[in-house]
């Protein structure tokens, strides 16, 4: 019997990435899907979320009476402050980044390549760009995880080599897409988890880079 193909929602991609966070980690979350991660911290783990604007120690996205318009994350969405929170200015915020204190960062991306390069600041045809804090964070975080849709308008985004200008070379450790979880290995992506209902061949067909699949391939569960 054929199972229906599952594509992870934005929330579920964020929840899967959040499973990587270990107790005590300092983590930066990028604009878009990544800022959803602070809603999905695994129980029993304390994660210190850092935002570019100097908020150190925020929690879940705020709703109702929790909303304080002065307290926002990188996506400018209201969030709650944890009891251990503190506020610094922008230069100190990036001092935290550049000095290597981020245990991990979750970022969005347009493209990622098998050697760990990724691109997320300039689209084809764009004259300007939107870098934000991504280059600083990607260059200096201990681990960079990406959350991204596997394809855009049917075009593959897990590539042999990025065609768009890159954000940082060789830094990506893990890629969570809507249909699987992948590790760049240099020449290929190793698929470590696959969304329910998909076959390896179906995923290979929409992945431009070579795909390696081990015996330990798991079904992606969140």
């Amino acid at each position: 019997m054929q199972t229906e193909k599952v594509k992870l929602t934005r929330d579920l991609m964020a929840a899967r990435a959040a499973q990587e966070f270990q107790d005590g980690w300092i983590v930066n979350l990028g604009i878009g899907i990544p800022t959803l991660c602070s809603d999905f911290v695994p129980p029993g783990r304390r994660v210190i979320f850092h935002s570019e604007n100097g908020v150190v120690g925020y929690g879940h996205n705020a709703t109702g009476e929790e909303v304080d318009p002065y307290v926002v994350n990188a996506s400018v969405q209201p969030v709650v402050l944890m009891p251990f929170a503190s506020i610094v200015h922008h230069a100190d915020s990036f001092g935290i980044v550049r000095s290597g204190r981020l245990d991990a960062a979750v970022l969005g991306a347009y493209q990622v390549s098998a050697n760990g390069d990724f691109a997320n600041w300039k689209l084809p045809g764009a004259i300007g760009g939107g870098i934000g804090g991504a280059m600083d964070i990607a260059a200096s975080a201990k681990r960079v995880f990406l959350c991204m849709e596997h394809t855009l308008d049917g075009e593959p985004r897990l590539l042999r080599k990025c065609t768009l200008p890159i954000t940082a070379p060789g830094v990506v450790k893990l890629v969570v897409t809507d249909i699987g979880v992948f590790e760049p290995t240099g020449e290929a992506f190793r698929m470590i988890e696959i969304a329910p209902g998909w076959t390896v061949e179906e995923i290979r067909a929409i992945t431009e880079a070579p795909l390696i699949v081990g015996d330990d391939l798991k079904v992606l569960t969140v």
């Binding site: 200015h89 689209l123 764009a126 300007g128 939107g130 600083d136 260059a139």
Partner: protein, 231 residues
């Protein structure tokens, strides 16, 4: 000593002339000097250089009054649509210097701290590093970035005293304290009524008044919204 408190934003910007460079604080609208931007818009000043996290604001770019922007976002966040900066860039009518956000912040801090340039690992290996001086320290490659200073800094704070000591609230702080140090004339819009000297605890001051030249309390008919104005 010169009085720092001004009654209106117009008076506080009365000497701002064509060709001025301005640091504009704020992140996503929080801590953004919306009243000073409106006064700048009404002043008619042109040929401006604007330094901010995101390029644009108050329609100045659209009106062709900006010569140069230095920002970490110059493109539209909607891929299908070009930003006003990109449109003018294509016509060769504006210079847009795209800078990573942390590099931008550090360039401003350096400007305010008497440091002309510094090395950063950010952007190494990307097209933004092309043409920049590279140097290796302890086995890691860095690029040289130069400090930024400006004629004016536009600041928004929560509380202030008449000497210009400032306190920011929560994420309002962002670029404000560093920009306040990097301008020849730092102008501040204040959310709470400005208090007398001695009313604020010196240990709680984020920006010392020595960096501040002008202060305006935001009046009841001013822009008092904290975050992004509704779309």
């Amino acid at each position: 000593m010169q009085q720092k408190v001004f009654d209106t934003f117009e008076e506080a910007l009365s000497d701002l002339s064509d060709g001025a460079s301005i640091l504009i604080a704020g992140f996503g609208g929080v801590g953004s000097p919306a009243n000073l931007m409106r006064a700048l818009q009404l002043s008619g000043a042109k040929d401006l250089t604007l330094i901010a996290n995101g390029a644009g604001g108050a329609g100045l770019v659209e009106e062709g009054r900006v010569r140069k922007v230095i920002a970490s976002f110059t493109a539209s966040t909607r891929p299908s649509r070009r930003s006003p900066v990109e449109e003018l860039q294509q016509q060769g009518r504006i210079i847009a210097e795209l800078t990573p956000q942390g590099t931008l912040a550090e360039r401003i801090r350096a400007g305010g701290a008497g440091i002309p340039a510094f090395f950063t690992p950010t952007a190494v290996g990307t097209e933004l590093a092309e043409g920049k001086e590279h140097r290796v320290f302890n086995g890691r490659t860095y690029i040289l970035e130069e400090a930024i200073t400006a004629d004016y800094a536009f600041i928004r704070c929560w509380r202030a005293d008449t000497f210009g000591n400032l306190i920011f609230r929560r994420a309002q702080r962002n670029f404000n304290p560093i920009m306040a140090t990097a301008a020849r004339c730092t102008v501040v819009e204040v959310e709470e009524p400005i208090v007398a000297e001695g009313e604020l605890d010196p240990d709680q001051i984020h920006t010392p008044g020595i960096f501040v030249q002008r202060l305006v309390y935001i009046p009841a008919d001013g822009i008092r919204t904290v975050g992004r104005p509704p779309a």
